[in-house]
Symmetry: C2
Subunit: 349 residues, 2 copies
Amino acid sequence: MLKKKNTYVVAVVGATGTVGKELVEILKERGFPVGELVPLASERSEGEKIACMGRNWTVKRLTKESFRNVDIAFFSAGASRSFEFVPAAVEAGAVAIDNSSAFRMDPKVPLVVPEVNAHAIARHTGIIANPSGAIVGLVLGMNPIHAAARITRIVVTTFQSVSGAGRNAIHELAQQTVSLLNFRDLEKNVHLHQIAFNCIPHIGVFVDNGSTREETNIANETRKIMEDDSISVAATAVSVPVFRGHSESVNIETGKKVSANEVRAILSAAPGVVVYDDPSKNIYPLAIDVVGKDATYVGRIREDGSVANGISLWLVSDNIRKGAALNMVQIAENLIQEKRAAETRISGG
Amino acid sequence: MLKKKNTYVVAVVGATGTVGKELVEILKERGFPVGELVPLASERSEGEKIACMGRNWTVKRLTKESFRNVDIAFFSAGASRSFEFVPAAVEAGAVAIDNSSAFRMDPKVPLVVPEVNAHAIARHTGIIANPSGAIVGLVLGMNPIHAAARITRIVVTTFQSVSGAGRNAIHELAQQTVSLLNFRDLEKNVHLHQIAFNCIPHIGVFVDNGSTREETNIANETRKIMEDDSISVAATAVSVPVFRGHSESVNIETGKKVSANEVRAILSAAPGVVVYDDPSKNIYPLAIDVVGKDATYVGRIREDGSVANGISLWLVSDNIRKGAALNMVQIAENLIQEKRAAETRISGG
């Protein structure tokens, strides 16, 4: 689908959002072969300028005609826009890399964290989905342990920053904080309840079994990316008054006994993971420290004696960067390499 | 030890602290028979006045001679002060109700949440310990389920407010928040790392197995209060930027299968617990809503299919009130009743 080129026409849907902006920065940082940037957004942002590859590109209003000549279309503008516009992008010949929940569990759509299942990219039919922010970090930490010791069950509680809910949620936390410190009334628009100085155990809508959509996503997406439906997952997803960086308290049970030191060794060798774990020096990952970092950081690794083969750990990653923008760009990089490798193989054969 | 009286001489060690102040308020609210209040604190607070029973009582400096004629001595001034001064209080004939960690795991000292193990009060030999704030709420929620369905394992992750670390920690969160919003440098005195807009998986010192003291306390105190060493507990204790109210994400496994509705019914009938659980109306407990409340609130009750008999829930309580001051006063109320009942029985015999 994607032709081999020296440079690509790259559309970014949601270009003025938190993830969209980060994505353009990452394209620049990593020298992605952007020939032309097509920043797309809602009417409100039309006309804004976005700098990339030494030029200013004008933000245009997203329509179904936006994707002419586009090779790669990054989507990060919510599920309803993806449902509406991803098919138009694919129809126009682009590969859509979608950060919304719209297609994540579609069996025809690969759901990809390149360090874990890059091979799944090859079977795409126009759409590749990016997992929710909390899941990218989780599978990066879980997959290497699973390969070594077979994870049978994961009990995870997330501490999710407001940036996972977008730019307005970030503003809301700041505004509510200022209001509270000045004894003024609160405004609530994005979060259902006060998020400043509070924790809310509710991300996404509630589904029938009493879980939230985010919690069922954590279970389902984890199994899909790790390609093993035998892994049991119990998730509780909580919004915390943190601007950026998702933290996760993870307890796992494994088929094979592994020690905390073995887990440290396994994760130290794993791509995209940094073991940051020295209690004697008060070293463990913190949300404020991972902002802008590519890796997922793991610490507080310890054996859990409450079960036969138990391990507890604490995992933190930048939900906007590796949880979204960086992972999307890495998928695109793999797509190009995959394409190039495939064409090399064909021409070589 | 405690003589039957119409009113009691009550000492409050740490009278000007967060818990001490709340405790005096609760004595007043509940009409505790205070004949004389002896507020004690460090030199810094000497001379401050505390209103109670229509009088102003002058804060005095804590010394080993402070406990003459004292009947009940509430301690909430940290473990080192309790180690030093609780024996003096007991020697002087007082019963010490201690909110520090000093004596909690001492086999001679009852560790009490009255709704769970009031009977343990009777075997005290001068000291009764109050559990850590995160544990009072936890056992209030767990004990009724254990009685009905035998809990075999608890996996708990706490979201602990800074008030658990005292008045200076509260100020630190406020100060750091203001500094960050004004782009000023942060001061760190109480927390090892920035707590504003951050979550820190480190409460208490680290112990040998890679857990923190708070995490091992959660396991050990839960078993001691519930009087069942067969319950396995895996805990992760996390400080969050919330002023007051501890939230806990709890996953349990039971010997007997219970449904979410059965758990709701069990907890609705349990003393000290309020079931606050209606996802269809976005109703679940929140830290900001429980401040000043006596009960522990439980919501997000759902079956966890990742294990044979699994239940997940979300539990929130006011760590200063029920987690400390109120529970201490309830212990004292039980002590008085216990004493009165015992003496009635003796005189009646």
